[in-house]
């Protein structure tokens, strides 16, 4: 596995919780859906930020319920695990996590992802990718600058061409 940072924001490391040490969890654990849905939240140290490892196929409503249970402020990472690189559900979940759940923590995509998907991931709201096949970090980074213009408003904040056109039009009028 190789981590690719798409946004350049700080990316934390979380460790999969072993399911045993429930006395005092304090070292940035990450939980599966089942663990997160059932763990006694009192056992997690108050200041400790946690991660969630969820299948990319998960229904957004289930993620939302987990966030409400745990508290958005305590979740540092949501890691959506793609079984295949063509499963588009993770992209919609990412968009909805940013828009509907106002999730501002790290959003990660894990799986057999291709560099050619780097912009789709970034623009859907992902910060990082954990890629099955190693040695492709540079290809991912290169792919981010492949396109200089976009038609849609998206999570990366790039100004869509419809607005750039209006700005250009205004500039021409002013000059």
């Amino acid at each position: 596995m190789e981590r690719v940072n798409l946004t350049g924001k700080r990316s934390e490391t979380y460790r999969a919780w072993d399911g045993i040490d429930a006395e005092a969890i304090s070292n940035s654990p990450s939980f599966t859906y089942e663990q997160a849905a059932s763990i006694d939240l009192q056992t997690i140290e108050h200041a400790c930020r946690i991660g969630l490892d969820l299948p990319a196929s998960i229904a957004f409503e289930d993620v939302q319920a987990l966030i409400q249970r745990i508290g958005a402020h305590r979740i540092g990472l949501i890691n959506l695990i793609f079984e295949t690189f063509t499963d588009g559900r993770g992209f919609t979940s990412a968009v909805r996590l940013r828009r509907d759940a106002a999730f501002t923590g790290e959003l990660r995509a894990t799986g057999p992802l291709a560099p050619d998907q780097a912009l789709y991931l970034l623009r859907s709201g992902f910060d990082t990718a954990m890629v099955t096949r190693e040695g492709r970090r540079q290809a991912f980074i290169d792919a981010l600058s492949r396109y200089s213009a976009f038609y849609q408003t998206a999570a990366d904040g790039a100004v869509p061409v419809s607005q750039l056109r209006q700005a250009g039009h205004a500039d021409r009028k002013a000059s």
Binding site: R89, S148, S162
Partner: protein, 570 residues
């Protein structure tokens, strides 16, 4: 290098900008050119073994490149079926240089080349980009080329020109980050006319322009139509949507589909099944709920952008004419008269017409055009149709803005190029998929059946007597030949190595959309033409009068008499 290429395309653009077409600006050029570079890089990595065929497949498909029976096939988008003469000449050039001298116009306003070499496809795409064309999203599980009425902007019977909306959708859907990996392919069609020439109700989303009681423009939203092995006619989930809300509503439908669509079974992955599984009422509720959120987010294309695009679709300045040149010529020329009555539709400007050029010569391959024919059409369009050409989903070409007094000259030129068969909308104006001659999915050949039917019914007087009749042939249940929507649908199946052809009756792709009903067991290839003849004979014997079309007669009579005639049982 990139800068030089932009500069070159700008020069062409400014010099040849047409009044009635969308023209790329430097942003559009940048996006399409970047895609060419990206694909060049993907091909290079594939050839070097850096990416597997499994990874490459969805990449090449989303750029229209299929691996077929004998070779690669490239599907090029003709967005909403609109071409300039310059673009048509480029398609002819590509046919000559990268194919075997011809191209195949498809049922979704695309053109396919059947013999490009993988290593040459980036150059081919570069050539397309130089005339503002591409192959982006012509295949794969994404939003495909948006289609529309081939008479858009020229017909007198439309509420509004659908092309500006189609261009808005083209831009919005191009590389949409959230919708590049859908459960299955996704097709959108839009029309502004009362007569449906775009098979609206057979699309994943069909958009029908209309006005509400206050005269406000908007759309009826039809969802969940589709052919394939489970033919479904789309359902109206919203009777009226104000036009300003179009993209946010489309986004909401796609978002619900992306989250809910079946990803385990590809035969259950189209939105028609999702809608059926969830239920129409619940699906609509989910879309409306999502839309309440989506409409609050910044618009991808605000009203000023729509206005910018719309301004490019100003009709060419046509003068109202009042002459009888065409009619006078027709009095002395029966062949021309037949063509005039058959292939020329009314234009919104008096004295002009919309010419449909049949790509269905009897015995020919439906939808095929040679490079020479493409160039002749390009020349005719330049001289007589404001340099504009349209492509129909029925695999014909259209000159949308022709002065009627030029019709005799145009007809002479078309006739010399074997492009004046007066069979538009008649029995031999057949839609056929490529079938087993080319397609890796097919079970049976389609093209030879269309050719045999063309040869058998090679009598225009007889065809005109039979009247309006749409035969649609598919070589497998994927239905690329739209057999479910055929007045007569023919489906090729494989039975223990033998190609058999089933007949179905009563389908329609028009505003009265209906699904054709299967009559019974299939016929071998050498019997199918005779079986169609039997069906036609029964129609001619039983039609109420000469005004009753084949489809009307089937709807009145039901299929039993036809079964009786074919199988001896009702």
């Amino acid at each position: 290098m990139l800068g030089l290429r932009f500069a070159a395309t700008w020069v062409i653009n400014l010099k040849e900008r047409l009044p009635d077409m969308y023209a790329y600006d430097h942003y559009d050029h940048a996006i399409v050119n970047a895609r060419v570079d990206e694909f060049r890089d993907q091909v290079k990595r594939r050839i070097a073994g850096e990416i597997s065929e499994e990874e490459f497949r969805p990449m090449r498909l989303q750029n229209g490149l299929y691996l077929q029976l004998h070779a690669y096939m490239l599907r090029v988008a003709i967005p909403y079926g609109t071409l300039s003469s310059t673009q048509m000449r480029k398609l002819a050039h590509i046919a000559r240089v990268y194919d075997k001298g011809y191209g195949h116009f498809t049922t979704r306003q695309n053109i396919q080349y059947n013999w490009p070499k993988l290593v040459e496809t980036p150059d081919l795409l570069d050539e397309l980009a130089s005339v503002e064309m591409h192959a982006i999203q012509t295949s794969g599980n994404c939003i495909r080329n948006v289609t529309t009425d081939q008479f858009a902007g020229a017909t007198p019977e439309e509420v509004d020109d659908p092309r500006p909306y189609a261009e808005l959708i083209r831009q919005w859907s191009t590389f949409h980050p959230e919708f590049a990996h859908l459960p299955r392919k996704f097709k959108i069609a839009v029309t502004g006319a009362s007569k449906d020439r775009a098979a609206i109700r057979w699309h994943d989303i069909g958009l029908i322009l209309k006005t509400d009681k206050e005269g406000q423009l908007g759309f009826e939203i039809v969802v969940g139509g589709g052919m394939g092995r489970t033919p479904v006619i789309g359902k109206t989930i919203r009777d009226f949507l104000p036009k300003a809300d179009l993209l946010s509503y489309l986004e909401s439908i796609l978002r619900v589909y992306n989250a809910w669509g079946d990803r385990k079974n590809k035969y259950r992955a189209r939105i028609k099944i999702t809608l059926d599984d969830i239920g129409e009422a619940e699906f609509t509720r989910l879309v409306e709920e999502e839309w309440e959120r989506a409409r609050q987010t910044p618009l991808d294309a605000p009203a000023v952008e729509e206005a910018r695009i719309r301004a490019m679709f100003t009709s060419p300045p046509l003068e109202v004419l009042n002459d009888t040149v065409a009619e006078d010529f027709a009095t002395d020329n029966a062949d021309f008269k037949s063509w005039l009555n058959n292939a020329v539709a009314d234009h919104k400007v008096p004295g002009h017409g919309i010419v449909t050029i049949s790509l269905k010569p009897h015995g020919g391959i439906p939808g095929d055009a040679s490079a020479e024919q493409m160039e002749i059409v390009a020349d005719l369009a330049e001289r007589y149709s404001s340099s504009e050409i349209r492509v129909s989903h029925e695999q014909n070409l259209i000159l949308p803005h022709v002065a009627r007094h030029d019709l005799p000259t145009i007809w002479e030129a078309l006739k010399a190029a074997d492009l004046a068969t007066a069979n538009v909308g008649l029995l031999t104006d057949i839609i056929a998929c490529p079938g087993l001659d080319y397609c890796a999915l097919a079970n049976a050949r389609s093209i030879p059946i269309a050719q045999e039917l063309g040869k058998h019914f090679d009598d225009l007087a007889r065809l005109n007597d039979i009247g309006e009749l749409k035969i649609k042939i598919s070589g497998c249940i994927n239905s690329c030949g739209h057999h479910h929507a055929g007045h007569i649908g023919i489906l090729g199946v494989d039975r223990k190595g033998e190609e058999l052809y089933q007949i179905m009756l009563g389908g329609s792709g028009a505003e009265d959309a209906s699904r054709a009903e299967l009559l019974g067991r299939g016929f071998p290839a050498d019997e199918i033409v005779g079986a169609v003849q039997t069906v036609i004979d029964l129609y001619l014997d039983h039609r109420a009068d000469r005004e009753e079309t084949f489809l009307q007669a089937v709807r009145r009579l039901g299929t039993s008499p036809f079964k009786e005639a074919l199988y001896g049982t009702g």
